[in-house]
């Protein structure tokens, strides 16, 4: 069964802005799915329609087999939403926010207390249960929204930029937590501007641009298509000129740093060998932009060239 099925989904706002121009998308249950796109591409509109925050103009939305028009209540029960912006009562205590959310989903108050404790413990906020929510840090507020979204055990969890503005340590712990949620059978849809995040977490990816899905495929297939890997090389001794190395595109960033694009047939070892032959010794190496980022940038640039708007990542 599909966790989410969209057919010819369209949205035109009152100012005649056509945000979605006929989106078709099917996400199977159990998937960890990335929905990417530049700003203004239609990601938020799509998520808002699925979660009933925005009325669609036309088309069909099915959540876990329930039609959003005909079985709205049942469809809504399947969804947990973590929005981009904080949208809880900032004057309410942490525990009450989660308990009330459970109540909105028809969970009796006694059970709501039990579930709230479970969810707040999962995101390490149980100690803060009696704190007024506006006193939480940015990262804690995001974790609170995740706990709130999970309290009714949704089959489909939608996260809109869940780690925006969150420090690296918390981001990694959130990734681990989301993986565990997905392992328990919850379908996860993630929008993010951190392409590394999508590459690390998601098994399937769709890219939306100008209101249309332009890419929809398995992450592995997509990454395999991006043949070259980009590396940053730190040199032991300074160089004054860019070394010319056959089969490799090399740029000089400064006297001690080179950027190299490494094709799969050559590999990093081949690059090191040829650099050594020219007397260039490499002291350190790190990954440059991710393969997904390269793919995304290329796609958006092509899209911009086609309609003359230029890239807008």
């Amino acid at each position: 069964m599909s966790a989410l099925l969209l057919r010819d989904l369209r949205k035109t706002y009152g100012n005649r802005l056509e945000a979605l121009k006929g989106v078709d998308l099917e996400i199977p249950e159990g998937e960890f799915f990335a929905l990417l796109g530049p700003n203004g591409a239609g990601k938020s509109t799509l998520i808002s329609i699925v979660s009933s925050l925005v009325n669609k103009t036309s088309g069909r939305v099915e959540v876990c087999g329930f039609d959003l028009d005909r079985d709205r209540e049942a469809a809504k029960r399947c969804i947990g939403l973590v929005p981009q912006e904080v949208n809880f009562n900032q004057f309410e205590k942490v525990a009450n926010i989660v308990i009330n959310q459970a109540g909105y989903y028809g969970i009796p108050r006694r059970e709501a207390f039990v579930r709230a404790e479970r969810c707040l413990r999962q995101v390490d906020l149980w100690d803060k249960r009696n704190v007024v929510s506006r006193q939480l840090s940015g990262g804690m507020k995001r974790r609170l929204m995740i706990a709130r979204a999970l309290v009714h055990d949704p089959r489909l969890l939608i996260l809109d930029e869940p780690t925006a503005g969150v420090d690296i340590e918390i981001r990694h712990s959130m990734w681990e937590f989301l993986r565990s949620v997905n392992r328990r059978g919850t379908t996860v849809i993630l929008t993010t501007h951190y392409l590394e995040e999508a590459e690390n977490l998601c098994r399937h990816i769709a890219i939306i641009d100008h209101g249309r899905i332009v890419v929809n495929r398995r992450m592995q297939e997509l990454l395999a298509e991006v043949q070259t890997q980009r590396y940053t090389l730190e040199l032991k001794h300074p160089i004054s000129q860019v070394p010319i190395i056959e089969d490799y595109a090399v740029e000089r960033e400064d006297a001690y740093t080179l950027i190299a694009e490494v094709p799969p047939e050559g590999g990093v070892h081949g690059l090191f060998t040829r650099l050594a032959a020219q007397g260039i010794e490499v002291q350190g190496i790190r990954n440059g932009s991710s393969r997904l980022e390269q793919y995304f940038m290329r796609l958006i640039a092509e899209s911009g060239d086609r309609d003359g708007t230029g890239a807008a990542a």
Binding site: S52, L53, E73, N87, N96, G103, Y104, G106
Partner: protein, 262 residues
């Protein structure tokens, strides 16, 4: 069948949740929501009743202070029921936690009943506080408790609904103060709270008969002292009709997502 079963129980729990949240909210901030009404109305009773009332004399054979207490209590019911819903629902929109309700499987009826119920409870609580305060100034009698409770509750429900509709249309905090200040207050003060319309010139009396609050104040007063300037059946029919009208309006607004959804 199973789905319908969830729907009934689920909606009832959702309604209870909203209602509990609303009632807790105004009790938590009681110095802003309950105390001011007690203080303001104690001053009304002291000045207009205990001090000036002695010179005014009885109306319909009722001491002036006893005559104005029901109107003052209902005035508090009206303003508190209205302001509770308009401020709470607008804040919910302003802080965006209305999204919690929109994304959840809560029916429009449950949302409406929860917020309006919160307004009704606050209106009645404040009304009871005013009546209790009046007990320091006079010995109150209740002539018809049923009429009193019914009219108090229906009036609170009507103005809670009006507050809800105001909040749906409001785009700023200014928008939620315009109706209370420039519509509600004049109608309440000219609605026979402090006088009987029999004391008015005939043209003013005729104009006053177009003020719906006059009917509510008089029916409520009848519950306390057993006298009224209007017919009770007309008063109940009027308030019943207005509630049906505003209830339908509010439901349609919620159903369409007016002021809430794009």
């Amino acid at each position: 069948m199973r789905k319908r079963g969830w729907s009934g129980t689920g909606q009832w729990i959702a309604l209870q949740t909203i209602l509990f949240k609303e009632i807790s909210r105004f009790f938590r901030i009681w110095p802003q929501t309950i105390l001011p009404a007690a203080v303001t109305n104690a001053l009304y009773l002291l000045i207009f009743g205990a001090l000036m009332g002695r010179r005014i004399g009885p109306i319909h054979g009722i001491a002036y202070l006893d005559y104005i207490v029901p109107g003052i209590a209902l005035m508090s019911v009206i303003t508190n029921a209205y302001s509770n819903v308009v401020s709470s629902f607008y804040s919910t929109k302003f802080q965006r936690h209305i999204e919690e309700l929109i994304t959840a499987p809560v029916s429009e009826w449950a949302v409406l009943a929860g917020y309006v119920g919160g307004g009704v409870v606050r209106g009645l609580v404040v009304g009871a506080v005013v009546v209790a305060t009046a007990g320091f100034f006079t010995q109150l009698q209740v002539a018809h408790a049923g009429v009193l409770l019914a009219m108090g509750t229906l009036t609170a429900a009507l103005f809670a609904l009006a507050g809800f509709i105001n909040a749906v249309y409001a785009n700023s905090f200014d928008d939620i103060s315009i109706v209370p200040n420039f519509v509600l207050t004049p109608l309440v003060y000219l609605g026979g709270v402090f006088y009987s319309i029999e004391l008015l010139p005939s043209w003013w009396r005729t104009v006053s008969m177009g003020n719906p609050i006059l009917y509510m104040v008089n029916a409520f007063r009848y519950g306390f002292v057993g006298v009224s300037d209007v017919r009770l059946d007309v008063a109940f029919a009027l308030i019943g009709g207005l509630i049906v009208l505003l209830l339908t309006w509010a439901y349609v607004l919620l159903r369409r997502g007016t002021g809430i959804k794009s």
